[in-house]
């Protein structure tokens, strides 16, 4: 290092600390301006508008027809979709990591598909195959089950859209997990389920929880697919995001803001919590 310092021209060496500090502050300033302008200001607008009259705006919004039904539907379907994807997501992660079979890379890519496809297109795809004018749709209709434009449709759309979350959080943990313990359990005669329950589950439980929470948070805000498949019937298949959409297009932005703040607060807390879990997981895995 001493020889390197000698090659640096004297005047640069003198100005280096000031220049670096200036650069630091320019960069930091740019980053802060970016985040404040793009994120803080819009969020502030929503919270302010929603609660400038205290809880009155919120109460007014929630007195609209179907308001509470929309919140309940969103919470219920998001939770259910998260649970379903927790189960299948864990299974998928397991087979992607532990099993060897042809087409494994393709399967991995397919699992990531919902992240790439526009949500509206997801909705369009679902209607294309399960809609009331399709063979499958008609078959189910004949036994009294309406697949599309129903609560079931909302659940299905959320399942598609939140599919990758649990897989992605569990996969890295499983990869790091030493198979020695699992093999030992099997050698000692434990059944597959027992092995899974006593050896694998405890290790992946936080990851599954994190993935499920992320899926839940994602489901709360889902719009593109649900707006297309649900039919948006007040009190029946209208979700919270659509309710916010409706309030906004009806020029009741303050009410919309009140409801939006509630929804977003829940999601934000969940995202922060799971971020922390995932980061801790990553650090533990590296240790």
């Amino acid at each position: 290092m001493a020889s390197a310092a000698q090659t640096v021209p004297r005047k640069r060496a003198l100005r280096a600390p000031t220049a670096r500090r200036l650069r630091h502050w320019t960069l930091r300033g740019a980053a802060v301006t970016y985040l404040v302008a793009m994120i803080v200001v819009p969020v502030a607008a929503i919270i302010t508008k929603g609660f400038s009259n205290g809880l009155d705006t919120f109460r007014e919004a929630m007195s609209s027809p179907g308001a509470w039904a929309a919140i309940r539907l969103t919470l219920a379907t998001s939770a259910l979709a998260a649970i379903i994807n927790a189960i299948f997501g864990t299974m998928l992660a397991y087979i992607l990591v532990r099993y060897r079979f042809r087409g494994r890379a393709a399967l991995s890519a397919i699992v990531d598909l919902p992240f790439a496809i526009p949500t509206l297109v997801t909705g369009v795809m679902l209607v294309a195959i399960y809609g009331p004018n399709t063979p499958i749709g008609k078959a189910f209709a004949s036994v009294g089950i309406q697949l599309m434009f129903s609560k079931l449709a909302v659940l299905l759309a959320l399942c598609v859209v939140t599919l990758p979350f649990v897989v992605r959080t569990v996969q890295p943990v499983l990869l790091e997990l030493d198979t020695a313990e699992e093999e030992a359990a099997q050698v000692l005669g434990a059944s597959a389920w027992k092995t899974f329950r006593s050896v694998v589950m405890p290790a992946i439980r936080p990851a599954v929880a994190a993935g499920a929470l992320l899926a839940f948070a994602r489901g709360l805000g889902e719009f593109g697919s649900v707006v297309f498949v649900s039919g948006n019937l007040t009190n029946r298949t209208m979700t919270a995001p659509y309710f916010i959409f409706q309030l906004t297009t009806q020029f009741k932005p303050d009410q919309a803001a009140a409801v939006a703040t509630l929804l977003f607060a829940i999601s934000f807390v969940l995202v922060l919590v799971t971020s922390r879990i995932v980061r801790t997981e990553r650090k533990e895995a590296e240790a």
Partner: protein, 297 residues
């Protein structure tokens, strides 16, 4: 050799020598379990992804290839894709440039409020796109915080491209930052410090040292941003005026096509979007793999 199976049940002596009948039975059961898990997963994937993909494919092709060609070359569709493209490009420029700076500051600097900054970056991920659109309305719509300033200067934000760009950018903020930051952290400062000591300027360090090191993380973030920007619907639906040829994105085109009873056209453009996303997915997967390697060192 025999061994106890479990402490909860009364001791049962079982022959678990490899090749024994018990072990063969267990092996068979294990294979059955494996098979059923794979089958269950495949069944689930079929229901939620594969069947719908088939469905949209069939629906788009239901009126034959000529209709597809006609639709994709119609002025409305071409304009819609152009608008999507314009919005995506600006979003990419802004989120990449500022995203790099932000990721840098988050990783390389230590300062008060860094945790808040980290949380802020996560925020758009927690927001429903409708809420983002609402925020834009609150800021730039009639009576909004910034509306008077822009109206006085004759600049139109709402019902026009600028608002659509703003909301899409907001939604895409986290991607580049979150994919570059871990790589920056892993790569470490040695090379950068060395470069600076040798007298390299910021630009030189940036282009010759930093960017090559985070190449795949950056690529991954850009791919995610592109896919998300192309697919945006909720927020743009609230702020665009849905004027064909002016403020109608490809996704909005699909949305209104079904309202206009142009179902096949809607399916065709939707399939095109799906196809573009699948290509993007390939890019994403590819760069994800490279990024993992990059982080691993």
């Amino acid at each position: 050799m025999s061994a106890t199976v479990s402490a909860e049940r009364p001791t049962v002596l079982v022959d678990i020598t490899p090749g024994s009948r018990e072990m063969r039975k267990r092996e068979r059961r294990r294979k059955l379990v494996r098979g059923s898990i794979v089958a269950a997963c495949l069944a689930y994937l079929t229901v939620v992804l594969l069947a719908p993909l088939v469905g949209i494919f069939l629906s788009a092709f239901s009126k034959g290839l000529p209709t597809i060609a006609e639709t994709l070359t119609s002025p409305d569709v071409e304009h819609a894709f152009l608008i999507t493209f314009q919005i995506t490009v600006v979003t990419l420029l802004v989120t990449t440039a500022f995203g790099l700076v932000t990721a840098w500051v988050l990783v390389r600097h230590r300062f008060l409020g860094r945790r808040i900054m980290n949380a802020l970056v996560e925020l758009p991920l927690a927001m429903s796109p409708v809420t983002v659109g609402l925020a834009c309305v609150l800021l730039f719509g009639r009576g909004g915080w910034f509306e008077p300033w822009f109206t006085a200067r004759g600049i139109q934000i709402m019902w026009a491209l600028p608002s659509m760009v703003l909301v899409t950018t907001f939604i895409c903020i986290p991607f580049v930052i979150r994919s570059v930051a871990p790589v920056l952290e892993e790569v470490g400062t040695e090379e950068e410090d060395a470069a600076r000591t040798l007298g390299a300027s910021t630009m030189q360090t940036l282009f010759r040292v930093i960017l090559p090191n985070i190449r795949w993380g950056l690529f991954y973030g850009i791919a995610l941003t592109t896919a998300r920007a192309i697919g945006e619907i909720g927020a743009v639906l609230l702020v665009s005026g849905m004027l064909k040829g002016k403020t109608e994105t490809a996704t909005i085109y699909v949305f209104t096509a079904f309202e206009e009873r142009l179902d096949t056209q809607g399916y065709i453009v939707a399939l095109t979007l799906a196809f573009i996303s699948i290509v993007m997915l390939g890019v994403i997967e590819f760069s994800k793999r490279r990024k993992i390697r990059e982080v691993a060192g």
